[in-house]
């Protein structure tokens, strides 16, 4: 057994010394400065011309709660429509068939190329072009009875979302290694079957973070439907301040609800990501 190594002559023995904690004085300074700024902003708002009693009174008012429910209903349905369209269009875009390919490219071009608010106004005012709609001989209706603010908002938001989602889906499908397609082909799977069984499940892992992003964007984009009289939370908050002129107070109320919803959605996205990341090494990235 060898003796423990000893220090050479002239070197001090450091082994007994304590390691001093480094004082991160720059961090402390930065934190202090940020707190000062936050307190100043907080004080300014507390002392500013805001009647906080209006904020607390309207935060849980019935029309506001109904508004946030309508916001969420619209966001979920429009996103669902967007995802369905997105998947179909992405598959068409990656198909070898030139007709499907160009239809998909045209769709993305049209609906990604015009502003969302313009599309909403078009859907809402569609009856100016087509007073009645229907299937000839079977069923007809006045366009305005069909194209309610709800349906106009759903179509406007959902179809626009589909154009964006198709690109997210296409990216997800492209991220799956080409060898996976070939292997699926080699064991005799058709194109659609390979997509369903092999490619899309693997693509899901990649598309969930951007889809979560898009969904959070959708929650806020529903506020544009206020201009076509869909009674979502901003529309209802506006109606209140049109009557009582408490503009900032009601905008704060609506803002609180959007923040609350997004705060709930963020951890949900994490859970979803974890589920689809099963079987891959980078589980918590």
């Amino acid at each position: 057994m060898r003796a423990a190594p000893t220090l050479a002559e002239g070197f001090p023995d450091l082994s007994q010394m304590q390691i001093a904690r480094e004082i991160h004085w720059r961090r402390w300074l930065a934190a202090a400065a940020i707190i000062v700024v936050l307190v100043a902003i907080g004080r300014a708002f507390a002392a500013g011309q805001i009647e906080w009693s209006y904020v607390s009174r309207f935060l849980t008012a019935k029309v506001i709660l109904q508004g946030i429910v309508n916001t969420m209903v619209m966001a979920v349905l429009a996103m669902a429509l967007g995802i369905v369209l997105g998947v179909v269009v992405a598959i068409m875009r990656l198909s070898p068939n030139p007709v499907l390919k160009s239809v998909a490219a045209g769709y993305t071009w049209l609906f990604r190329g015009t502003p969302l608010i313009l599309q909403l106004l078009l859907w809402f005012n569609l009856a100016l072009v087509f007073p009645t709609i229907g299937i000839p001989g079977l069923w007809t209706a006045r366009a305005v009875d069909v194209m309610t603010p709800f349906l106009a908002a759903l179509l406007g938001l959902g179809i626009n979302q589909g154009a964006y989602t198709s690109e997210v889906m296409r990216a997800g499908m492209l991220s799956v290694d080409a060898g996976q397609y070939e292997a699926a082909q080699a064991i005799g799977m058709g194109r659609l079957r390979a997509l369903r069984r092999i490619i899309l499940p693997q693509a899901m892992r990649v598309v969930i973070p951007p889809l979560g992003n898009e969904f959070i964007g959708m929650v806020k984009a529903t506020s544009l439907a206020s201009v076509i009289q869909y009674p979502e939370v901003l529309h209802n908050a506006e109606n209140i301040y049109y009557a009582n002129s408490r503009v900032i107070e009601l905008l704060i109320v609506a803002g609180c609800w959007y923040l609350l919803v997004v705060s709930i959605l963020t951890p949900l996205q994490m859970l979803l990501e974890r589920r689809f990341a099963r079987g891959t090494a980078r589980i918590n990235r």
């Binding site: 009856a127 100016l128 305005v144 201009v227 076509i228 009289q229 506006e238």
Partner: protein, 274 residues
């Protein structure tokens, strides 16, 4: 009331002795500019000329004439109707002349100098069967949701429909007067409401399309809106407005837009009956 009569005295005095005009607030005088904000979706009060895209209208002409007399330039800005009052409060605008009705609910935040008679007016598409306003009970009636009209429709419906045992008017919100007329054309609503002063223009744009139903169902005034603490500016503008009424230049502007009948005899403060 004493304030009003005092004010009327001042106005009458000013009309006869405009040589002794009150001074503009120093800030405006120094800058040489008046900051005014309008919602330009309300022809013929204020709108963008479709051909030239210039800001035109009765309010614009009145304001320009005022500015000429005050020897200041106007810097115009635009905003949605609902943001007019906040624009005044935040001093983005020195005063507001933008087809806004003098309403008691708005007097909490501003003083009005009334300069034009107005009133909410029902109208329908020409082929609609409604003959009198009472025919609209139980029907869908739309108007701009950021105005005072939704409240006035409800009030009228209570007094004239519900009190008579008829079903109430169903109010349908719209974004601005153009949107409301589009809803009317599409059949989303049976009738619409706009200020009576804006209907001749709309009818001129689309001849034979619209028909008014009944008379304006409330009497009111359009007012120039001032901040409560801005009495100096308010009185200077009132003096000049009184002078414009006295020398006929006011009437000339109204006639240009076919609204001579909506003239007032003198500017009045917070005078619209509620």
């Amino acid at each position: 009331m004493t304030r009003l009569s005092l004010f009327l005295g001042v106005a009458a005095f000013a009309a006869t002795a405009s040589a002794q005009a009150a001074e503009l607030p120093a800030e405006i005088k120094q800058a040489g500019t008046l900051k005014l904000t309008v919602n330009s979706t309300y022809a013929p009060m204020e709108y963008r000329d479709p051909a030239t895209s210039e800001l035109v209208g009765l309010d614009i002409d009145l304001a320009n004439e005022l500015a000429r007399r005050l020897s200041v330039k106007i810097v115009w800005s635009e905003t949605p109707f609902a943001e007019l009052i906040p624009s005044l409060q935040t001093k983005r605008a020195d005063f507001i002349i933008s087809g806004i009705s003098d309403r008691a609910s708005r007097r909490e935040t501003a003083d009005f100098i009334d300069y034009l008679t107005t009133g909410p007016q029902f109208f329908v598409l020409n082929e609609h069967e409604a003959k009198a306003a009472a025919d609209l009970c139980g029907k869908k009636v739309g108007t701009t949701r950021s105005t005072s009209f939704p409240v006035e429709i409800e009030k009228w419906s209570k007094q004239n429909c519900e009190a008579a045992g008829k079903p109430a008017i169903q109010y349908v919100p719209g974004e601005n007067s153009i949107d409301v007329r589009n809803q009317l054309k599409q059949g989303r609503i049976d009738a619409a409401v706009q200020g009576s002063e804006t209907l001749p223009y709309a009818q001129g744009q689309e001849p034979g399309k619209y028909r008014v139903v009944g008379e304006p169902f409330a009497i009111g005034y359009q007012g120039i809106m001032f901040r409560k603490d801005d009495a100096v500016l308010r009185e200077v503008v009132t003096e000049h407005l009184a002078a414009m009424i006295a020398d006929g230049s006011y009437k000339k502007i109204l006639d240009k837009f076919g609204l001579g009948a909506n003239a007032v005899a003198r500017p009045m403060m917070n005078a619209a009956p509620q």
